[in-house]
Every structure is written in structure tokens, then in C-alpha cells.
Subunit: 439 residues, 4 copies
């Protein structure tokens, strides 16, 4: 009866950062094959088709609109969106995403899709029937509930017929073999700044529809920043929720993530993974403007990976995987780093000021620990603090009282532990990640 509990933080790939609204079936498959071959052993498993898979001509007005207003979308007779056959040829004849999902499952991976909250606007204006009911979409759609940025949908009213609509959509997804939905315009809705989480009833309806559909489907909510005041609600009904605005490869935005992680640190637990958003690594941006390399320095990339992992965020890669270079690939294959994503660790910010930050993490069952030192300055600095300050952040008995032998994972070097002090020299915008060495 409770929500589905993914045992570890979801890790995967998402088409958006590289393909914008235009990814095709062949491109998805090429990335899935790469993942199966190079990343699956390290925990990466979700392949997610992002926004506008149902829309025609998505790139045709890119200079004026990311989302064509009042454009043409593929839809069935019950107002449910279907893949656009121009982009997903295998979807014709009512097969939807099932053929693609089958191929991805055959690779040992899981299949996810993006979906806008709501019911298509045209379904409402055309009074289309709701599957399995005798109501029509005009009674289910809320004409005042639109997205600030996407023109496709109306929000769904909190009524039995509204629930029936979401149930019908999730039945279709389960039939296709969908394992993950990233629902957008729902985690916060910009239209209502005084009640950012004003559509939380749609989260409950989606959660209920997932439960009824008979398939384990991860429920991921976007965009952020999620409202901390509603943390209990996200935790009860969803698996991931975005704690930030769209994240891109910009140092100021990365710096701001430390503020968001501070606020959400007590809300990470098995099955509930506050989400720092996709990783803009490697090659990105092709369909936004042109293909480019991430703007992050190597140290900044290590800082990002360290923060996402020690905080416990899901990891969704934004890069075109087939073009990953060896160094970037090594970030994604670091077992000692990714171990933090296994759902067993509890993590706490130990200190943060304008120049630095320290986090500590522990598996309370085993006493295995990590300590991360982050340098916000534009030049290297020595960061040090009493080891006891780390232990003090956790309930008594969770964190080892004495510092165990440790090693720094990015350098692979052993860490000297004959004092009560954690310290290290950290490069500009960089991070050290210490790990208790016996594991």
C-alpha cells in the first residue's frame, strides 16, 4: 500500500541536456547500449526520454519558442498523449513506447519518460471522453491551471473523474513497460508564488494511479526548488523531487546547491531522494544551440559529483554518452564514490561559511564513514576541523568516536590519522572525499 521504495538513489541518463525536445528512438537506443556496456555495472540503469516526445516539428521554431504554442501532438481518443511517430517510428499502430521499452529492458536497463502534469488542452476544448468513465475532459481539466512555460496541458481537478484520467494514463504506461516518470510543472508551479506546491493533489493522484497500475514506477517531480515546508508531503508520495531550479554548468549555481542541500539534509532516506538535478558533464547543449563541452573545470566536476553523492541525490547524466571522454567516464565509474548512493548512508553538513563546507556521512549499521571537504575559494586552501565536530552532527552511537584509517578517494592516497583533526589542502572550487579505508 505505501509508495514504491527504490532501494538506492536512482541513477541513469536523461535526454534533455543534449537533445532538448528532439531526441529520437535511434539516439535513445545508442545511449542505452553505451550505458549497458560501460555504466550498468556501476549502478546506472534508467534511460529517460525527456520532454515533447508526443509533439511534431519540435525543432521548427527554436529561435522563437522552445515549445511551439498550440502545436500538433499525437494523442489517442481518450486524450492520452502518444509518441510522435516521426521521432519514435516503432510506436505506430498503437504500440506506443512498448517496442522501445522492450529493447531497453533487453539490455538489462530500465525505461523512463517525462510527462507534463495534466490533461492535453485540446482534449478539454474538444470535450474528449475519459477512458472508463462517462465524463469528458472539459469537466476534468482546470482552465486556470496552466504551466508558465509549456503550452500543452491543463491541470487535473481533484475529482473521481480526474483520478480516472490519471489512472488511465498510468495503465497505458504500465502496459508500455515504463519504470520511471519524471512529472513536470508539479514540484513547484511558478504561476502561484504564494502557494508553490498548489497542485499537491495531483501528486497524490499520480501516486495512487501508480499504486493501482501494478508496476513499480519511480515517481520523480520537477521543477524546483521544492518547498521545504512541504517536505513531509513529497516524502510520503514521491521518490525524487527537485530541490533547485534547472541546474546547468555554472559555478554560481553549483555554489547555491550547497544552500539547498543544507536545507534538505534531514529529508534524505531510503525511497526518498531530494534531487539536485541532472549532471551537465561531457558534451551537452546540441539541440539548444550547438554541441559544447561542459563549462565546469575538472575540480568543479569533482565537487559536483562529491556533493551529489554525499548528499544522496539521484544521479541523472545529461551528457551524450557515446561521446564521453575517458576522464569523464572515470567519474561515472568510481565505485568508492558511488557507494554513497546505496541507500544505507546518513549524511550531515558539518559546517558551511562563505569560503568552505564540510559534510560527513555514515552507514549507522557498519560505522563506515565519508567526510567531504569543499573549497569555495578561487585559490587553494587548507581546510581543517576537529573530527569530533563531525561526530556531533549524528545521534549518539552512529558515527565512530575515534577517527578510523581513511583514504582520499580522488587521489587514492591514504590519509594520515594520528590526530583528532580532519584536514586537507583543497584545490580552487575543488573537493576532497575521505573514506574509512577498510571498506
Amino acid at each position: 500500500m505505501p509508495k514504491y521504495i527504490p532501494q538506492r538513489a536512482p541513477m541513469g541518463w536523461n535526454s534533455y541536456d543534449y537533445y532538448d525536445t528532439n531526441v529520437t528512438e535511434a539516439e535513445v537506443l545508442a545511449n542505452a547500449e553505451f550505458m549497458a556496456k560501460h555504466l550498468k555495472p556501476f549502478g546506472w540503469e534508467y534511460v529517460v526520454v525527456d520532454i515533447q516526445w508526443y509533439a511534431y516539428d519540435t525543432a521548427s521554431m527554436r529561435d522563437r519558442f522552445q515549445y511551439i504554442p498550440f502545436g500538433i501532438n499525437e494523442m489517442d481518443e481518450f486524450g492520452r498523449l502518444l509518441p510522435c511517430p516521426d521521432k519514435f517510428p516503432s510506436s505506430v499502430s498503437g504500440k506506443g513506447f512498448q517496442p522501445l521499452a522492450d529493447k531497453i529492458h533487453a539490455l538489462g536497463l530500465k525505461f523512463g519518460i517525462h510527462v507534463m502534469r495534466g490533461i492535453p488542452r485540446l482534449a478539454a476544448h474538444h470535450h474528449m471522453p475519459i477512458c472508463g468513465t462517462d465524463e469528458t475532459a472539459d469537466m476534468v481539466a482546470d482552465p486556470a491551471s496552466v504551466s508558465e512555460w509549456n503550452p500543452d496541458m491543463y491541470g487535473v481537478r481533484n475529482t473521481p473523474a480526474g483520478q480516472a484520467y490519471y489512472d488511465s494514463v498510468l495503465r497505458l504506461y504500465a502496459q508500455w513497460g515504463v519504470d520511471f516518470i519524471k512529472v513536470d510543472d508539479i514540484c513547484v508551479t511558478g504561476f502561484h508564488p504564494h502557494r508553490n506546491y498548489g497542485r499537491r493533489h495531483e501528486v497524490e493522484m499520480l501516486s495512487s494511479a501508480i499504486e493501482k497500475c501494478g508496476r513499480d514506477i519511480v515517481l520523480s517531480l520537477s521543477p524546483g526548488p521544492a518547498a521545504v515546508e512541504e517536505s513531509w508531503h513529497y516524502s510520503r508520495y514521491a521518490n525524487m523531487w527537485r530541490i533547485t531550479d534547472d541546474f546547468w554548468d555554472n559555478w554560481d549555481t553549483l555554489l547555491h546547491m550547497f544552500d539547498r542541500c543544507e536545507k534538505w539534509q534531514d529529508h534524505v532516506s531510503r525511497g526518498s531522494y531530494p534531487d539536485c538535478d541532472m549532471l551537465p558533464l561531457g558534451k551537452v547543449g546540441k539541440h539548444f544551440d550547438q554541441e559544447r563541452d561542459t563549462l565546469f573545470t575538472k575540480e568543479e566536476q569533482k565537487t559536483m559529483m562529491t556533493l551529489w553523492c554525499i548528499f544522496g541525490s539521484p544521479l541523472m547524466l545529461g551528457a551524450e554518452m557515446t561521446k564521453l571522454d575517458a576522464w569523464t567516464l572515470s567519474l561515472l565509474q568510481n565505485e568508492e564514490l558511488l557507494r554513497l548512493e546505496n541507500g544505507s548512508f546518513i549524511s550531515r553538513q558539518v559546517l558551511r561559511d562563505a569560503e568552505k563546507c564540510v559534510w560527513a556521512s555514515v552507514d549507522p549499521k557498519t560505522g563506515e564513514i565519508y567526510v567531504a571537504l569543499f573549497n569555495f575559494k578561487d585559490r587553494a586552501q587548507q581546510i581543517s576541523l576537529p573530527y569530533a565536530h563531525c561526530a556531533a552532527m549524528f545521534p549518539a552511537g552512529h558515527f565512530p568516536e575515534k577517527m578510523p584509517p581513511m583514504r582520499e578517494i580522488w587521489s587514492g592516497q591514504a590519509y594520515k590519522t594520528n590526530t583528532d583533526t580532519v584536514c586537507g589542502s583543497v584545490p580552487p572550487h575543488g573537493a576532497l572525499l575521505l573514506h574509512s579505508a577498510k571498506f
Copy 2:
């Protein structure tokens, strides 16, 4: 080239308070005939058909919706709304409101209509052409700009084609003989609390369309409360703008109007009339629930009339006029009161606290003055203040230095003036209005 300047504050009748969305041609005419006979000599002249004149079946779902979502509206091939023939039978065969406007003009009155900001949603979804251009509505409509409360329209983009749409609409209105438009969802837009006046470009577009249409049309903006920070913009482009939320017959709301009038007192001038909203007098409410008498006491009604007039608000009667009783009618035929609406007076709040308020008004060309004393308490009180405090609110030379002989207009009694003090005993929730007697 500047906006049309109505020389005095517009006075008239509006169908909303009594008829909600359902007024018919016959009912409009019956009220117009009453106005022509009984009120026209006192300055009342506008007859305004309020919201949903283009919609079918407007009362059919009143228990669930005031405005039927995704309902059927009458529209021409250019996405311009037309009167619904069920309610306005003379409008058939493309004649629109012209026959009705003709009859109202024949009574010596002026004709006004309500209109929602924007372009009909279906025009956008159906890619209908914009009259006189080769563009279509989907490029003009902004899919993210909807009303919080009415489901009919999308906002218009600030582009040449957008302007062409508004131009085409105003040409049609001018051809019908419309003298007044009350544009709704534009003065403030609840969807954007951080930029309440976020659609001010649509006000500019409407103003420009009026200028080009070749007819003097009053531009009235709703709903309120208008943003005082944008006062200069309202003043430049519109004739009236609502300074409050919807006003109904409730003492607390009336009390709150004193706060709004304080803030707007320096923004009233010939052609620019901040608007305190309609007067819920006599019989109201029939199509909301059932016909009822105003909930205001007689003293509260005098307070309302006194404040609206001394502030200089437009006066739009909400009552069903054919059912007015003699006492209410006398309020509307008080020449000495309504003289304040002639566009020549400058008015200032002299003092206000939790228990009372005093306003003063002067025609600077003649020295004619009014002083109003308002009692907010639930029992009678004596209100008094130095006459000089009234004069001090005005530029030197505007207000007579010595108190002239005065009379109280509600009682008609002369006011004793052998002191330097203005004072009077004011009934609970009531008002006295003193007027320099020689006029």
C-alpha cells in the same frame, strides 16, 4: 493623439450585481428606459452590459461554475466574440450589438460592454486568422497568460499582429456604436502576484486601438486593487481603473475603501478616475442566488455615496433600476452631492484614524468647497477639527482661508459657522457632507 478625456466622472448602470452572467436585451432596455426617464438629468448616462454576453447556457451550471469551462461562445471567423443570440436576439445576421446600441443612443444614453482581456482560447487552438493580416491566432495568443477565474481567453502578445487583433476588435465595437469598454483581468492579474500589472502592454494596445477606431470610447480597467506604483501608467492610458477588489454591501469592505481612497487621492483628475467599483444599492443578487435588498443600512449608503463622490470615483449603479424605491432613488437624484462628480473638484483626506475620517474638496477656480465627516464607530459621535486643517491640505490659494457659510446636504440644514472649527454629530457608520452654501 492623447487618450479620450471624459470631462466628468462616468456615471451609469452595470448589469452585474443583479444579473451576474445572464442579462438579456429586454432587461437591458428596461433599465435604460428607466435611466432615461429618472436619472439622466442628474448625470447618469452609461448603460453597461457586463460579462459573458457572448456565451451560451451561462446559468446552466451555476451551482458548480460561475463561468462554464470550455463552454460554447459566439464568435466570428476572425476570432472576435459576438453577442449570444439567445440573450440578444437583435444581434443575429452579423449585426452584433448595433441594434441595441442604436436604441440606447435614441434614449439619449451611452452604451457600454464588458470584455475580457485577450483572444478566445479556441481561436488560438484552431489557428484562426487575424482580420487584416496573414497571421493566425496561435502566434498572437500567449498560452501562459490566462485568467485565474475566467476560462475564455488567452492574453495577447506584444507584437504587430497582436495589435492588429485588438485593432480589429475595436473597429467592430466602434461600428456597433460602443461608448465604453470595461476590460477585465487586466488592471491586476492574480496569476502574477509579483508583477500584478504584468499585462500593461495590453492596456497600451487597447488604448492605441481606441485611438485608431475613430470613436470616443471610455477605457475602464478591472479588477482591482490597482497597483499604486503604476499610477502614472493607468493615468496615461486609461480613464478608470479599479482600486479595490470586487465591492459588495459589507461594512468591513466599505471601511477598507477609505484606505484605498487615501492612497489614490493624488491621482484623480479630469479624464482619470480611480474607481471604487459598483454601488450595491436597492435590489441586487438575483442571478447569483436570489434577489435581495442591499445589506447596507441607510447611513452606510449615505457614507458610500459621500465617499465615492468626494473622492471623485465613477458611479456605476448595481441595482435593478426598475425596482428602485423612493428613498434609494433620492440618493441618486441628489444634485448637490453629484455636483462633486463634475471633474472640477480637487479632494484631499484631511485626517483618518480608527474611529473617523474627514475629507475636504474644492473647486480651485471658484472656491466652492465640501467637507465630509465620517463616523466609523458603532454609535454616534461628535467629530470636530480646526477648519485650518482642511485648508492646509491644499496648495496655497486653493482653499478659502475663512470658512464660508455652509449647509449639510443630507439634512439640508444650514451649518453654524461662527467658529474656526468644523464639527458635527455623526450617526453610527454615517456621514455628514457640508457644502459652501452660496452655490
Copy 3:
């Protein structure tokens, strides 16, 4: 090194609701004796002297000021406040609160005091020395950090000398035998609405000072509503923090508490007790105006006690205990209710709408459960929900899958359990509290 962890939610008595600023030593002792005799066996143990114990003539200007501006306070040479001997005669000759604390300890109880955040204003203006340093108060006091409502103090700067001041104060309290401090003007500071928790460094300084003072002292923060975004910080450094404005005996305020408890439900744990504020039961209000009975009905009192207990709030009685009637006393001696305060239960809101609310609670180690049904309506109603909805709020395995035998604690009657539905007929504004019967 971590903060002191009180194993169960603090329960006690506070002088404010009855005595305002004026409680005396004799009155405190009379209440302590009553508690020792009648309430101690049920878990009540803290006796807390509330605000202004250091001030002279506190009641002398009650018609104008609750806190006399720039009044006379008892202080030592290091700017540390001392009890006013007029009210606490045993405190003379530098003994401070030690004699009173000794007597309360002798009764088997614990002793608490209220304290305003900061350093006395006069200490700053007179450049008084900080004990154990060579700095003076003018360098430690922040002239821009004042309370909105109390005139006595300046906030303390985040500097070593500032820490030294707080250390010196806590050393004094530890020497007196203080077990509990209620620090005021710190949980939120009204002066800074955009950064309500702007003085969180003073919480850290107080926490550090407690740690150093060598005594287990509960740290309680006021006033509320605490900022949910900062929940992690309150949890790390304090034991209790007010989640509401001052709570009094008014139904609307009680109703609002359900909203606050919803938001804070995931933040209750052993040692961290979000605080619903004092219980205005029995006789209250004497020194505010005049002694009066609580305005709550008996059903509302049961609702309050049920909510505070199932949520896990501390319980601080506001009544004059020596005047408690038998019925009120029975509320405070209900073992089956107060068992919820033992620090072992995890509680969740199961549902809430405008008419009703349901909470469930479980001790995950034993499977012992409670379910509370609250009726917000002005007349009785039947409340029912599937038992499975309660279980679904908890991690798998925590809450028993099948409903155990239960009894309703206010009536003492067994509850029929042959269905999958929890239901009951709940009086107006009342509550039922079901408890698994075997315990």
C-alpha cells in the same frame, strides 16, 4: 559532544499564563508542591519561572506596558541579570536562584527559567566588563538587534567575546542549579521578516555554552512560528522550539495548530520536540486582567491534549495548579494518553481536510499503536477511513498490517475491530483516541 538529549518530551508548568510578569517565589513553590504531590508520578517535572524575574515594579504600568521601557533590572557587575529580590527574597546576597532551585530539587522536580536572548542594554551603554575577558559589553552587544516587544536586551555578536558572555551566563545558571532555559526572541525574530531565524548564531552560542557548563540543561526556543526551512538547525542545536505564535484558549488557534503539526510531523524525534506551546487549562489570566476559567470546552480540551500528545509536543501547563478542579486534573493524570510522550513513538498525519483530521502513531519496536480522530465541525460527525491508510503513512514493517484490538481512551470503551475500517462518532470540536488494547 552532541547536545543533551532529554529522553522524553519535557512536561511541566510555566508561570506565564496565570502570573504574566509577576510570579513570586512563594507562588512558584506552592505550584511545585502541588506538582510533586499530584502530577510527578505522571511525568510532570519541570517548574519554569517565566519572563521578567529580574525586573522591579513589573505590574506598575500594566495598563500601558506589559514590559516597562527602560525600567530597573537587577544585574551583577558583569551585566548578568539576577532575580529581583522583591519577588524572590531568597536570592539576596548573591545567591541568585540557587535557594529556590534547591527546594524544587528537594521535591524531586526540575527547575527552569525564562531568559531573553542577548545582553542587557544598560550593560552595553555603560561599557560593563564581560566576565573572564578584557572586553566590554559595548563591543559584544549589537545595537541593531533588539526585540520587537521587550525592551531589555541587545542581541550578542558572533565573536569570541560574545561567546564568553553566554558562557558566563550559563556558568551562573549551572551554579544555581537550572535544568531548563526557555530562551525568548530567538526562535523567530519579528524584526526581520525576511530572515526570521536571523539570530541562529545565538542558538549555536547558547548550545555551546550549555555544553561547556557541565550541566544537563534543556534548551527551549521561543517564540514561534519556527521556520520549517530551518528545521535541521533547530534539531541540531535545541531540544524544543515553538512552532506557533503564542497559543491561547481560542478554537481558531487550536484549529490552526493542526496545520503547524502537519508541517512539522517529520521533525519529532528523541531529544527534538517541536513545541505547540503552553496548555491554557484551568484557571489562567490573573495578572493579565483577572483570573478566569479556560475558554475551551471540555471536548476542545480533550482535542488539545490528544493533538499535543500524539504529535509529541512538550507539555507545559499554564494553569494555576493549586486551583485545578478534578476534571482538569484527570486530563493531566491520564497515563494511557501521556504514554505518547515517552520518546518512543513515531506519529503521522493520515488525512486532514476542512472538517476532520486523523493521526496515527506507533512504537516501531513493539508495534503498539494509537489512532486519533478529530472533528472540526460544530456538530458531531462519524469519521471513518480504511485502516490501511494509517499503515501506508509509515515505512514498511513499522505499523501493524492488521488492526489490533483497540480501546478508546477518553471513554475507556473497547473498540470493535472486525472490519478493515477505523471509524467513530466524534463530538463537536472533539477527539477520539484509539489505543491498541494489549498495552
Copy 4:
């Protein structure tokens, strides 16, 4: 009885931008002598001593505090601040500012001082008497009303004794010969973001005290940004009020001023001068850090002077005058520019977007006009608009219908007028100012 009406916008010099808290009598006099000789003929007349003239040792802790907390101030027995004799030697023996004011008057200039809203904190803590009453300062001072940034004062309560305090202060100023007071921490008070103008009763009290003191004293309010919603109140009681935060020589801040001027454009009239703050020209900053030249380019300086003048702001020079270079001096001696400050012009923003802005101004009695073109871009641009758009901003009859012959004042060149278009090529960040040539 109404407030004093300065017939033209006040122009003068203020010590702050160069001297911070440390200006001395000799420095003030040197600047006054320069003004008398070089600037007085162009309308510059006020010499204003800015903040902390009453404080000792003001520069002694400049690395830590701009205003020394709990420092030593010169004060009389009635809690009225007096000049610090260290900085103003002629003030000894109770003569206050009278000797300095006399010298400035002798130069044909006027004398102004800065003053913090309120009563000194120590006066309250020491219960000092209020001159002419039997009340003491502790009853007049409001302990919760402090400045966010200056530690010296408490706000004054709205009581007869509070008024008596302000009356006593203004009597002293009148006796000294003060012509101008810049009252600080009053126009907005940062402590109360939800009621920024929360101390408006103190403005009324100051206005009343000025009226009673028998001397024409300009009332200037700081800091900004003033609340546009309260424009009527500033207009009624003050002569100048800051519409911005502290203004310094930074392009972004200058750009932002166009936004502020847009909002305040309808609130400029004879006697009421919304204030864009001091002009950071020439040499500034000496006592903040070190003497430096303004960071504005010459074009930016012309933009600033053009905007301040066409908007109608007061002009208060921040430069050390004795060090003015010839070019800067020429800005301050431009008669054709400064003519806009004579209190006869009405000005309106004609258009503004992200790249440019146009203002127009007219003396409605004579038809004399100015048009300013501003270029926000980093490179030169051609700006053009129909002349009729300027005229449309004004009431009919105010602005000439046909473009008169014009000349551009910064270049002195005649402007070609054989079209209906106003246009010009404007340098980066620069301005053109066209003036009807016959004047």
C-alpha cells in the same frame, strides 16, 4: 499653515560622499566659500553637514564600524544633540551651530544639517527631562524603534510629550539658523519591510515642529527607496524624499534610477521634489577609504545630470568642491540645463525599454520644452521617435503641437526640425538634451 514651499528644487552640497562621518568646521567653510564664489549664481545655495556631527572619535574604528556602537555624543540636559567641539570648535559654550550658520549666511548661502530620527538612546536610559514638559525621555522613546544601521537613537512615540521633544529640537535648530534638515532613517525603515513607512507619524511631528519654530526649514527625508503607495503623505508633509537606496558612481545603479523616476514622475511639483540622491562627481570617498575620482565616464555624468534635471530632482553635490576640475565645474554651471530645476516644468517619461529612454518636459505657461534622449547601450545608437509621442504624454494644450526650433545643449548645436521626428545619435551610456531654442 501648509508646509514651507521652496519655489525651486533645492541645490547644494553635502559633506557625506567625501567626508563620511568626519567633516570639520574648517572644511565646511572652505566648501561654502567655493560655492559662494563659483556656483551660487547658478542656483546652488545649501551647505549641508551630514551625519555624526555630534559624535566623538568618529573615525577611530573605521575598519570595524562606520558608526561606533554606544559611543560618546555631545548632548544638552534635555537630550538634544549638540555639535562635537572637536570637529566644530565654534560650537562651545552652548552656541551650537549658530556661529557656523552665521558665517554661511554671510556668504549668501543657506545652512543645513543631517539628523537621525528620534531621541538619543542614553537620554531614554537615563530618564532625562523633555524640555518644557514634566515628562522624561523613557516615556517618549520607543525601545523597539531603532535604526538598522545607526546606533544612536530611539524612535519617538506619537504622544504630546513626543511632539514636545521634536518641538524643542526644532526650536534649537531655528535659533541656530538652520535652513534645511535631512532627516535619516525615516523615509523608509529597513527594520519593517512590511511597513516601510512605519514611522510616518514622526514625519508629521517634524513637519508640525517646523511650522511652529517660525523659520523656513526644508524637510528632506532619507533613506530610500520611498514607498510610492505613500506618495500622497510625503507630498503633504515633506519637501524632498529619497526615491532610491544610497546612490554611488556605478552604472547599474544609474540605470536603475530610470525605473525609479518612471514610478515617481507624476509626483514632482513645486515644493515636492522626489530625490535621486547626491551627485558623486569630482573627488569623493576620502574618509571611506581614500580620495578617488568619480567612476562615471563623462557621458555617464552627462546622463546623470540630464536625468536629475529633467526629472526635477534636487541636486546635492557630493564632491569636495575645492578640488573640482574645469570640466566637472562646467557641468554645474550649465544654465540651460539647470533651468529645468526652477519649479515651473512638468516632465514625463515618453518611452523606456532595455536599450533607451526618452523624457519630455514643458513649462505649460510658456510652452518652453526640453526633450532628453538616453542611450543605455554600450555603443552609440540612433534614437528616434515621432514628436507627437512626446506631446501625447501631457494634457491637451500643455505641450506645443508642432516641434519648435531646438538646440542640443551639451554640444550647443542647433537641431534640425524639418520633420515630425525627434532623433539623434547618442553616445554609449550618454544623453542628448534638446531645448526649444528661443529661450
